[in-house]
Symmetry: C3
Subunit: 328 residues, 3 copies
């Protein structure tokens, strides 16, 4: 891991331009409050730039219009400081590479194919016919079911569970406790009880997908559940069977998507939004946090449906009046 990078090297990394007359060595990215003398910080807009006055950081990333406002003598001018910050932070904290080999406490079935450059951690279980590609990291206690596959450079954090016949693309990051490919929730009512419908589809997850802790993605009933390339999912999300999530859609924490729903590309689903089953959401749709979506959305744009929060006494009155709307 590099300990010091020159400002000009960082400007090169993020595609920005050096500002100021010196080219100091930078040792880390830091928030304005925590920055020490060799840190670079950043300001995404004019308000944040002005708020940097007094920081100890000796360099800043800002837009051209904002950089003078920061009062910091040198830095990097970039039209998108947040993106530049992401690239620079990556340079200071590159993802660890696989430490090739299989830990002696792991259980790997003989018919599994594990690339010799992959890292299989302690107490992992890898079932028969699994394929693990080059550079994959599987951390302690992950379980990979029969005939599943993991693409190049993907990282599975501790205790991830992949059910049989589920497939992860390349360069994915799957956080602890994620469950991929459990049975979808399918039952046929029959004389007051529920008959299980075997869930024989799989799960296909594209490249560059990140999946947050304790998220669950169910396998399809007959066909597959599909997660597109570049999808980013936060923690505690539930994706029902046979959903399709379009490329580069982001989904915040605690969202539930019921079965057979199709979400377009480049959508943004706010935290705790809940999306009904068997509906279709167009590309580029933004769903506000806490919104319950029960119908198709065919046009891009932002959609919202949350009850406004007020002091509890005011709510009692409001709720009573709303309830009245159901009568007369």
């Amino acid at each position: 891991m590099p300990t010091n990078l020159s400002l000009s090297a960082l400007a090169h990394i993020c595609g920005g331009a050096v500002y100021g007359s010196s080219d100091p060595l930078i040792s880390c990215v830091a928030s304005a409050e925590k920055a020490g003398a060799n840190a670079i910080t950043f300001a995404v807009d004019s308000r944040r730039a002005a708020a940097l006055l007094g920081t100890a950081a000796n360099a800043v990333i800002a837009r051209e219009v904002d950089i003078a406002l920061t009062g910091i003598e040198c830095g990097i001018v970039h039209p998108d400081p947040y993106f530049a910050y992401a690239k620079i932070a990556q340079a200071f904290a590159p993802r660890a590479r696989a430490n090739p080999g299989i830990h002696p406490s792991a259980v790997v079935e003989p018919s599994a194919q594990v690339d010799p450059t992959a890292e299989i951690g302690p107490l992992v279980y890898i079932a028969p016919q699994v394929r693990i590609s080059a550079g994959v990291r599987v951390h302690a206690g992950a379980r990979i079911g029969r005939s599943a596959s993991v693409g190049e450079g993907t990282e599975l954090f501790p205790n991830v569970v992949m059910y049989p016949a589920t497939h992860l693309g390349a360069r994915c990051i799957v956080h602890a406790g994620v469950v991929i490919g459990a049975d979808g929730f399918g039952f046929a009512p029959h004389q007051g009880t529920w008959e299980k419908i075997p869930q024989t589809g799989g799960v296909r997850i594209g490249d560059d997908v990140e999946i947050g802790a304790n998220t669950a993605i169910d396998r399809g009933a007959m066909d597959d559940t599909v997660i597109g390339d570049g999808v980013k999912m936060d923690n505690q999300i539930q994706i029902g069977h046979n959903c399709h999530i379009g490329d580069h859609t982001v989904i915040a924490g605690c969202v539930g998507v019921a079965g057979s729903t199709i979400i377009g590309k480049r959508c943004m689903i706010g935290g705790a939004a809940m999306i009904s089953g068997h509906i279709k959401i167009a590309d580029g749709v933004v769903i506000s946090g806490g919104t319950f979506v029960s119908d198709d959305i065919s046009e891009s744009g932002r959609y919202t449906g949350v009850f406004p929060t007020v002091a509890h006494r005011a709510w009692l009155k409001m709720a009573a009046r709303v309830r009245k709307l159901s009568k007369a």
Copy 2:
């Protein structure tokens, strides 16, 4: 696993009648789009029957009134095609039976009683005094606490955790990451801090229960938390301490049920519904998805409480007007 079954054999399995003059061999159930020549597909109603035109499936399951609409020459007539599909799909994808024995990497305490026909997978831990019945399958990494018991034919997927003194009935399916019997959320306020109330009750789960991935069912405070026979729960559900869930109730994903609530038999709880503690819901109640239930429901029927979703600009206006209802 059978590779081919005759149409007449399938009709027998689901209790339907053969339609058409031939008795072809069928190799799988498939959706209309994915069906190949030896597949059987199904239509639950007239609209779906009409939509099957052009499928490659050479047999169909449909109601008597719909079967001619499908344009498929042979099939199975059944008054409930979805149930018939479930039974036929089970015939093509029967659940795997236990492969008896204890994996050498599992840790099983000497005082645990494991039936010789049970399968204990890799890296499993089974604590003292546990009882594992005949035909049980415990997959990799599951943890079964002291004095817990698992009924005949039940299957525990990877990394399931059963706390001490929790009990699962027969033929249950418990998906990966499920936690049964963690402490209920009980604290007594005292001088600005919270005093823990020991949770000394257990969890009793009936027969034929299915529990989805990463669901948590807490143990009772003094008495037990009880899940009835035939209850089906989806992923990411939270069941608080001392809840009772009646037989054959189904609960969709992301539902939370707070402590000491009693839900009747044959209820249907929609996804992301949230149910307050210490309330009672009658048999046969249907709760719509996203609904927050804070009072008793004493009559069967469907209940709903979600704010309608609209375009964000319209919502701003709507929310402002709703907020006004709290004043004047």
Copy 3:
């Protein structure tokens, strides 16, 4: 574990006064319905006291004004019977102490420092440079990442995951499936895709914190995520990166708190409440269950925002009228 304690000993334990002329031996705390002859039960108010008539319990905990109502001849008078019950229940069910030593199936890296009084259970993984303090209990299958630390007397239930550089205080209880320190959800949009922002902050959790099953607490982006002393969290909670939760705040199940939100001390967050990112909630705020909080709350008090639940037909009318509020 004590099997019998005299009424006077129990009164001493909870700081109450003996009522009645006898001093019986008590063997357990029990609910009114389940209590046998040697049990003590309790009543928090007059209504509950009156409801105890007919219980088999031979002692009761109640307020002075209520104790005669119970019809039970002896008991403990305490101004806060629920707190007294907590203390007495703890006396009958003390938490088990660590059984010192490292299970032979655990994998503990040589550079980890494990106090000799700590208990490391079966199939646990402890990474390099971890510090485990005195009296800690780590149950089966927990994973503790590099340079993490666990304070004195803390208990980690099965399959808990601590990521690297996360820190738990003393006397915490962390339930099964909890994930501490997964990456926060941080991505910079860039030309239609999402650039990952390395999450290099940690997680610091105070003393006497309890965390419910399958809850996830993300690590900070640059600075730490911080959970104060005495915080109690239920199951299935999501805490985003860089949140600060004030001391002695309680959070019920299924709550989500988005990133960088600061919640004050001694707040009470109801089940399934959802709290937006980058907001600030004052000390002593009570959020009702199911409420979506999207703005700062600067004064203590109770706040609510849930749509009232009604029969579905009534809801259809209500929702249509609410939707109309967005027009005209």
